[in-house]
C-alpha cells in the first residue's frame, strides 16, 4: 500500500509543478516602488492651469486628462493618488522630484533633449501636435502637403493658423472665432479641411462624419517626468502608456470645447 501512496503523491507533485510553472512571481522589488507601495500613496506633481489636461474644478480639486493617467499609474502600483500643485517650472519640477517631494510630474511636459538631461521621461503618452480634419469621405488629403490650394479653416491667432500658412495660400485660410463654426462649414462642404491641435481635434470629430487624418504633423509629445535613474518606475509607467489607456482617456476628455 505504501507504494500506492507514493505513486499518488508523485502524481500530485507532478500536477502542482506543472501548474505553478505558469504563475511564477518575481520577488525582486525596486526600492522606489517598494517605498511608494509602503507609503500607499503616489505623489504626483502638476501645474493645474492647463484645461482640460490639468485644472482646478469648481471645488478646487485638481482634475483633468493628465490626472486620470496618473490615477491609472497609481492603480497599476496598487496605491492611492496624491496630487501636488506646482507652478510650471522645469527647475522646480526637477527639484521636487530629486528631493522626493513628488514621485512623478505629469503636467503636459513636452519631451526635449534639454529637459531629458534633467529628468527621466517616460515614453510619450500624448501628441498634442497639429492634426488635419476632413470629411470621412475625403480620400485626397493625407499629408499636410496635400493642403496646397485647399481652403483650410483655423482658429484665428493660434499655432494652427501659423502651421496652415506653411502649406497653403493665406487667401485660402479662413479664420474662425471658434472651431464649432469651422466644423459646420466643413460638414457643409464650404471648406476642405481644418487644422487643429490633436486633443481639441479628438473632441471636434466626436460623433460626426469627420475624421482626423493620420498622426499630428507637428510634434508636441508629452511625457511624464521622473527622477533620473528610476528605471523600474519608468517601466511601470511605460506599461500603462503602452496598454492604450491614454487613448481611451483622450476620447473621454477632449470633447467639444468652446
Amino acid at each position: 500500500m505504501d507504494k500506492k501512496i507514493i505513486f499518488l503523491a508523485g502524481i500530485c507533485i507532478f500536477l502542482l509543478v506543472s501548474f505553478s510553472g505558469c504563475t511564477q512571481q518575481e520577488n525582486e522589488m525596486d526600492p522606489t516602488i517598494k517605498r511608494i507601495q509602503d507609503a500607499g500613496v503616489l505623489k504626483v506633481g502638476t501645474s493645474a492651469d492647463y484645461e482640460p489636461l490639468e485644472y482646478l474644478d469648481e471645488n478646487d480639486n485638481i482634475v483633468g486628462y493628465d490626472i486620470d493617467i496618473a490615477a491609472e499609474i497609481a492603480d497599476e502600483l496598487d496605491v492611492s493618488l496624491y496630487v501636488i500643485n506646482i507652478p510650471f517650472n522645469m527647475t522646480d519640477f526637477t527639484n521636487a522630484l530629486n528631493n522626493g517631494e513628488v514621485d512623478i510630474v505629469i503636467s503636459a511636459i513636452t519631451i526635449t533633449p534639454e529637459r531629458s538631461e534633467q529628468v527621466l521621461f517616460s515614453n510619450a503618452y500624448l501628441n498634442a501636435g497639429q492634426v488635419i480634419i476632413v470629411n470621412k469621405t475625403n480620400q485626397d488629403i493625407i499629408f499636410p502637403e496635400d493642403l496646397k490650394n485647399k481652403t483650410v479653416g483655423v482658429q484665428s491667432g493660434t499655432t494652427s493658423e501659423e502651421e496652415a500658412l506653411k502649406y497653403t495660400n493665406s487667401t485660402l485660410i479662413i479664420g474662425y472665432d471658434n472651431y464649432m463654426m469651422a466644423r459646420d462649414d466643413l460638414l457643409a462642404g464650404l471648406i476642405d479641411a481644418i487644422i487643429i491641435d490633436y486633443p481639441a481635434g479628438v473632441g471636434l470629430t466626436k460623433n460626426t462624419d469627420l475624421k482626423i487624418v493620420g498622426d499630428p504633423f507637428t510634434d508636441e509629445l508629452y511625457g511624464i517626468a521622473l527622477k533620473k535613474g528610476e528605471q523600474a518606475l519608468k517601466i511601470k509607467i511605460d506599461t500603462v502608456i503602452a496598454s492604450g489607456k491614454p487613448r481611451e482617456l483622450e476620447n473621454e476628455w477632449f470633447g467639444i470645447t468652446d
Binding site: L15, Q25, L120, Q231, A242
Partner: protein, 575 residues
C-alpha cells in the same frame, strides 16, 4: 494504513495520469510554438519598423542632430505603443559604441552591449527575448546603415505583454478545455469501464455470492466473445458441474440419512431386545443359582455315587476277568466243536460220496444190461417185470447221481470255473440237447433272451441248472400244446432270468417249499421219474454263483415261473 482502491478507481487514475501528461505536454508544446510565433511576428514588425526608421535617416547631419533624433524616436514610440525603448548607438573617438540618443535618457552615454558590437561588426540582427515575471519583452539589435555602410547600431525594445496577455487567455482557455476534456474522458472511460468490465465483474460477484449462498441456478449472461465471455461460459459450466455434484451429494446424504435412521431404529430394537434378554438373564441367573445349588448337591451326590461305582468297578473288573477267562474257554470249546462238526460234515460228504460211488457202481451194469435183457425176453410177463425193474433201477441211478451232485455242491471244496457266457446261446444249446424230451411232450419253447446278455457262471453247472429247470417245467406241463418261455433282464449288473411254463401251477404253500430236498409238489404221487432233488440242486447252483432263486405262480392251473439271478458278464470275456 491500508487503502482499498476499486478496479475502476485504479484504472481511472491511470487513465487520468496518462491523459494529464498527454494534454499538458500538448499544451506546453502549443504554448512554446505560440511564443515563437509571437516572437517571430514581433521580429518581423521590428524589422519593418527599423527599415522605415532607417529610411528616415538620410544623412550624417541628421544623426548629429540629437534633438531632432530624440523627437523622432519619441514620436516613433508614441505612434507604436508596443515599442518601449529605442536606443541609437554610434562609435566614439576610440571606435567604441556608445548610446548617443535614447528614449530612455538614463541610457545616454552608456557603452553598448556585446550584441551591438557584434551587430556593428557583422551586420547581424539579434533578437533577445526577455521574460521577467509579468513583463515580456523582445529586444531587436540592428545595424544602422547610411549610404550602404554600417555607421552604428540601434535597438528597439518591444513589449510583448499584450500578446502574452492574449496568450495567457488562450492558455487559460486551453487548460479549461483540457480539464473539461479530461473530465469527459474520465466519465466516458468510467462509463465504458463500468459497461465493459465492472458490470460483468459485478455480475460475476453477484453470481458467486448467490452460489456461495447455495443457489446453483445462478447463471451469467454475457454475450461478448472476449475473455469475459469465455470466463462466463466457463463459470456457467462450473456451476452446472457443481449443481450436478450437489444433487449427487444430496442424494447420497439422503440415502445415508435413511440408512442411519434405519440403523438407529435397528439399534433401538436391538437395545430393547437386549434389555429383555438382560432381564431374562437376570431371571435365569437366579434360576441358575438355584440350579447351581442343586448341581452342587448333585455333584456331591455324584461324588458319593462315584465312590460306590469305583467299588463296583473293582468288582466288575474281577467279574470281567472271570468272564474273559470263561470266554476263552468257550472259544476254544467252539473251535473244538466246529472242528468236530467240520470233521463230521467231511465224513458225511465222504460217506455220501463213497456211498454214492458204492451205490452207483453196482447200478451201472444194471442200467446197461437190463434193457438188453428186456429186448431179448419173449415172455410178455417177464418183459413187463423187467420193465418195472429197469424203471426202478433208472430211478435209483438218478437218485444216486443227484445225491452225489448235491453233495458236491454242498461241499465248500468244490471249485467253480467261472466264465462270461452268452445266455441266449446257452439256453439254445440246452433246448437243442433236450429236443427229444420237448418233442415227446409236445411243448414249444420260446427264447426271448437278447443276444447281448452275458453272465458270469460255470458253463457246466449253468447247463445243469437250465436242464433241471427245463425238465421241471416239462414235468409239470401235462396239457397238450404246453409252452415254456425263457427271458432275461439285466439291471445294475445283475441278470434276472425267468423260466415260465403253462403247467399246473402252484399254491402259496408249495411255492415256499419246492426248493427243499426231496419235496414233491404232488405228495400223493410217487412216480419214479422225479427224485425231488432237481430244484434243490438248482437252488444250490444259483446260491453257489452268489445269486437267488424263487418261484411265482398265479395259482393252481395257471402256470408257474421260476426266477433266478446271476452276476452279469462282459462280452469281451466270452469263450
Amino acid at each position: 494504513m491500508k487503502i482499498n482502491f476499486s478496479l475502476s478507481i485504479k484504472l481511472t487514475l491511470l487513465v487520468l495520469l496518462i491523459s494529464a501528461v498527454v494534454i499538458f505536454s500538448i499544451t506546453y508544446i502549443n504554448v512554446t510554438e505560440e511564443t515563437k510565433f509571437f516572437e517571430n511576428a514581433y521580429a518581423e514588425k521590428a524589422t519593418a519598423l527599423t527599415q522605415a526608421f532607417n529610411a528616415n535617416i538620410l544623412s550624417r547631419s541628421q544623426l548629429e542632430d540629437k534633438s531632432n533624433l530624440l523627437t523622432y524616436i519619441t514620436k516613433y514610440i508614441y505612434r507604436n505603443p508596443e515599442i518601449l525603448e529605442i536606443d541609437i548607438n554610434l562609435p566614439d573617438n576610440q571606435g567604441k559604441l556608445t548610446t548617443v540618443v535614447s528614449s530612455n535618457s538614463d541610457s545616454v552615454g552608456n557603452s553598448a552591449s556585446n550584441y551591438h558590437h557584434s551587430s556593428y561588426e557583422t551586420g547581424n540582427v539579434y533578437r533577445i527575448p526577455i521574460h521577467n515575471g509579468d513583463s515580456h519583452s523582445l529586444t531587436i539589435v540592428t545595424p544602422l546603415y547610411l549610404s550602404g555602410k554600417i555607421v552604428g547600431t540601434y535597438d528597439m525594445v518591444f513589449s510583448m505583454n499584450k500578446a502574452y496577455l492574449t496568450l495567457d487567455d488562450q492558455m487559460r482557455n486551453l487548460i479549461i478545455l483540457s480539464t473539461i476534456g479530461l473530465f469527459l474522458l474520465v466519465i466516458n472511460f468510467l462509463y465504458a469501464l463500468r459497461r465493459i468490465i465492472v458490470k460483468p465483474i459485478t455480475t460475476f460477484v453477484d453470481a458467486t455470492k448467490m452460489i456461495g449462498k447455495g443457489n446453483l441456478d445462478a447463471r451469467i449472461k454475457i454475450d461478448s466473445r472476449d475473455e469475459l465471455g469465455k470466463l462466463a461460459s466457463a463459470f456457467n459450466n462450473m456451476t452446472d458441474d457443481l449443481k450436478q455434484s450437489r444433487a449427487e451429494i444430496e442424494k447420497y446424504s439422503k440415502t445415508l440419512e435413511k440408512q442411519v435412521s434405519e440403523r438407529t431404529k435397528e439399534l433401538e430394537e436391538s437395545k430393547e431386545e437386549l434389555k429383555l434378554k438382560v432381564e431374562a438373564l437376570e431371571e435365569n441367573k437366579a434360576a441358575m443359582l438355584n440350579i447351581m445349588l442343586d448341581l452342587k448337591k448333585t455333584i456331591s451326590d455324584l461324588e458319593e455315587a462315584k465312590k460306590h461305582i469305583n467299588i463296583q468297578n473293582v468288582e466288575l473288573k474281577a467279574a470281567h476277568e472271570k468272564l474273559f477267562l470263561l470266554n476263552k474257554d468257550l472259544e476254544s470249546k467252539v473251535k473244538e466243536r466246529t472242528a468236530e462238526v467240520e470233521n463230521l460234515l467231511r465224513q458225511k460228504d465222504e460217506f455220501i460220496g463213497q456211498l454214492g460211488h458204492d451205490l452207483k457202481n453196482p447200478l451201472t451194469p444194471l442200467v446197461g444190461l437190463l434193457p438188453m435183457l428186456e429186448e431179448k425176453e419173449k415172455d410178455p410177463k417177464t418183459k413187463e417185470h423187467l420193465g418195472v425193474i429197469i424203471r426202478n433201477v433208472e430211478y435209483m441211478r438218478d437218485l444216486v447221481i443227484k445225491t452225489l451232485q448235491l453233495a458236491r455242491l454242498n461241499s465248500p471244496r468244490t471249485a467253480f470255473d467261472i466264465h462270461d457266457i452268452n445266455l441266449q446261446e446257452e439256453f439254445n444249446n440246452v433246448f437243442e440237447n433236450q429236443q427229444i424230451l420237448l418233442k415227446n411232450n409236445n411243448i414249444v419253447v420260446e427264447n426271448n433272451i437278447r443276444e447281448d446278455i452275458f453272465v458270469k457262471a460255470d458253463k457246466l453247472r449253468l447247463e445243469e441248472l437250465i436242464s433241471n429247470l427245463l425238465a421241471n417245467a416239462v414235468k409239470y406241463t401235462v396239457d397238450a400244446k404246453g409252452k415254456i418261455i425263457v427271458d432275461a433282464d439285466k439291471k445294475n449288473g445283475i441278470v434276472t432270468i425267468s423260466v415260465s411254463d403253462t403247467g399246473i401251477g402252484m399254491t402259496e404253500d408249495q411255492l415256499g417249499r419246492i426248493f427243499d430236498e426231496f419235496y414233491k409238489a404232488d405228495g400223493s404221487r410217487h412216480e419214479m421219474d422225479s427224485s425231488g432233488l432237481g430244484l434243490t440242486i438248482c437252488k444250490r447252483i444259483v446260491e453257489r454263483h452268489g445269486g437267488r432263486i424263487w418261484a411265482e405262480s398265479l395259482g393252481k392251473g395257471k402256470g408257474s415261473t421260476i426266477y433266478f439271478t446271476l452276476n452279469g458278464g462282459d462280452e469281451k470275456d466270452k469263450e
